[in-house]
């Protein structure tokens, strides 16, 4: 099959890649952009290991989308979460609460949670369980993942409610 040129905007960086039109976004990210944090765990859109966020708010299973369809969207992957050497509150939450074991499901869990918190900044435990129900984890039993997301929601809420520091404060 002939390849075509695709421009992917991932974590604020443009990747110019040549892929067959049937190349799945998950594999384009992994094999062409070198971003191997996005994982593949099934062939039936069931596991959620491959979730990335489109345009800052929509979680998608990147195994259900062709790379060519992702052109023109801002894609956020797990590699784009930490900023300036600082873990994102979600990453911190998962670390503090032992929300991961083998780590294979973790990028997908983080990205689904990231999108959820954009839409629902103050989720209840039930909300979190509902939102994460498309992401499988074989290791943790979810209890600690739920705690991790709730911790992150709290931390993000606190960040927002802090008064903005101004130069005069220095």
């Amino acid at each position: 099959m002939t390849k075509q040129r695709v421009e992917l905007n991932v974590n604020g960086e443009i990747h110019e890649i040549q892929v067959e039109p049937r190349k799945l976004l998950a594999y384009a990210l992994r094999d062409e952009c070198g971003l191997t944090g996005t994982h593949v765990g099934c062939d039936s859109s069931s596991c959620g290991c491959c979730v990335v966020v489109l345009d800052g708010e929509t979680p998608v299973k990147s195994c259900t989308m062709f790379a060519v369809q992702a052109e023109g969207h801002d894609i956020t992957t797990v590699e784009g979460l930490a900023q300036g050497g600082q873990l994102h509150p979600l990453q911190q939450g998962f670390w503090d609460q032992h929300g991961l074991q083998c780590g294979y499901c973790t990028p997908g869990m983080l990205m689904t949670s990231y999108a959820m918190l954009k839409e629902y900044p103050e989720p209840t435990e039930e909300d979190v369980r509902k939102f994460l129900s498309g992401n499988l984890c074989r290791c943790t039993g979810y209890n600690n993942i739920v705690k991790a997301v709730l911790q992150a929601a709290k931390a993000l809420g606190a960040e927002k409610s802090e008064p903005e520091t101004t130069a005069a404060d220095d």
């Binding site: 971003l35 994982h39 062939d43 873990l87 039993g141 600690n144």
Partner: protein
Amino acid sequence: MSITPDPQKHALGVSMKRKEDPRFLQGKGRYVDDINLPGQLYMAIVHSPYPHAKINSIDKEPALAVPGVKAVITGEDLVAAGLGWLPTFHGFDKQMVLAVGKALFQYQEVAAVFATSREAAMDGAELVEIDYEPLDPVVSPHEAAKDEVVIRSDREKSTNHIYHWDVGHKDETQRALEAAEKVVKQRIVFQRCHPAPLEPCGCVAEFDTMGRLHFYVTSQAPHVYRTALALVTGIPEDKIHVVSPDIGGGFGNKVPVYPGYVCAVVGSLLLKKPVKWIETRTENLTTTGFARDYHMDVEIGAKADGTVTALRVKTVADHGAFDAAADPTKYPAGMFGIVTGSYQFPVAYAELDAYFTNKAPGGVAYRCSFRVTEASYAIERAMDILADELDMDPVELRKKNFVRKDQFPYQSALGFTYDSGDYHSTLDKALERIGYDDLLREQAEKRARGELMGIGFSTFTEVVGAGPSKHFDILGIKMFDSAEIRIHPTGSGVVRAGTKSQGQGHETTWAQIVAEELGLDPQNIMVEEGDTDTAPYGLGTYASRSTPVAGAAISLAARRIREKARKIAAHLLEASPEDVEWTDYKFQIKGVPTRSVTMKDVAFAAYTNPGDNEPGLEASYYYDPPNMTFPHGTYVAVVDVDRHTGETKVRRFLAVDDCGTVINPMVVEGQIHGGLTEGYAIAFMQEITYDESGNNLNPNFIDYLVPTSLEAPKWETDNTVTPSPHHPIGAKGVGESPNVGSPAAFVNAVMDALSPLGVRHVDMPLTREKVWRAIQEAEARRAISAD
């Protein structure tokens, strides 16, 4: 929840945050599919659509015509190269790498296609033309036993029977059962299920210019792989470098060597290019090691007061088309002898017959130490059935028959020496925490209203930490484990072990053990595993053996370092080594706390000022355990069953575990949460089923169910601590207890809920439909008897 340990104080028993997590959290883990080598080819496998079929011909040409496809290999090619068959781990059988002559199960590997991209390899695999002639399949082990169709023509004996195994006293047990005042008998099936780690299996194989094989693979036992590869391929072992990188869960599925691995190595040799093979989820569920599939007839003899007098278990095991069970050589039925559980059976007998069927091969332990889960489930279910028939509280029955604390070490009727335990205390703690009396009251009220509420117990004993090498080996290799520690001049260090974490957190817990033994900062003890070039030879991580075996090796290697360090400390303190003692995480002159040096001081001196001592500070230890360890626990499930829909709600689940000394409570709790969720899955959702024609009905995550965050119950955990008397730090291992112990608690709870209807036993998984049918049938029976 997690904290940072103070290096000058205990590092053991501390919920230290995991050192491996920052890399996983940032997508920087290095799993096998993240490894890409220059010029790499991709491999795809062609699978048999038939469970049993003669292969008349294979035409590679259409596949070879696909752009990018470089080669296709078949079973005939492998046989010609002397690589047609793989030895299975416990040595009773061998497995075809690619089908030769006949395909023996649906999805069996028939050909391998190598191409320049994943997609081209898959295109090629679709086009390999194979002419099959379907044969009658043998799907049930009970049918297999009749030998009407014998499926393996390559074996000398013309039978589907693989082996007979037994343990205990047959005649005495028979006599005791005949004399018993009460005998209960039940067929209990532990269904075929699959460990299904989230990362599928896979590998990247490369021969370098020196002809050395570098093999990156999802293996729970990289050293055993190296030896197995040397044995299968004839490549000298020094020319094989196996690396298990980060592994996305294993649960026993990543113990065996699979045909795809051999094909990738062959392809890489043939094409002189690195070859990557990553299986699909379907391949994972349909071809790699399944678990269980034990059909057990359990009989307990007892006195009228509930004192048990005899146990007999007769098992039929379905091993699929090859005997690829990953059991130690001398234990074809693994540790099934633990089937007497936590109870004082004066006499017992267990026997098992294993059969070939036209189903995927396996018999791996799914988060379980070689058939302990099957055994534990059988006895815990049967004890409840006995309690029910004697009209006794299942808790009372258990208490009456428990091995008592003062009886340890306890010699079981089937030959194990239980090292330690305190069953009564663990059970009492659970009863108090769950509020048993209140639950019983609530249940009585609900029953009066016709509602179905159940309380289920499992008071299991495990046997883990294989093993004493006089009893345990895999492919002849003794089941020891190993550790090597180097302390650097500035007081940090590295520990290498023969184990391989798949999420268990060894990078943290092994550092904690070293830190505890040496008074160093666990943050600065690096842990390395999984690379056979650097790690000492070990048997790997499965069967909950890492902490009991490698954990002990690490502790003892560290103590060797401490012994040497004492001499250097004596030199620094200008004293004789006999006058120097290790207290409070430092060396001091006996009775003179003011004259002391730390391990950090000693480490520096080991390289700068060792005195008359040999410079350097490192040690290794190969640990051969004197006995296994016997973790135990009490699990309690509280369920409500909807009479009209058959739906079960797990309202509460409490796990009180005793795994001896705890290294990192947070990690232990995490292991228990994960194992309980797998136990829940097995009890309620998971089964690999085949239809009558031998078609696998659960080849993906749509049909093979993994609990999501919505189904997974909230777990309550607690523990008691009965240290192992023979382990250097008293640890016993815990990863598998929750999977071993929980299925019986769930099922006992549901059966307790259904007991007012007269339902005695339903086999797992207890899906809504099955429970609903059981209720319907029970009600129909009652209606008939009321007429």
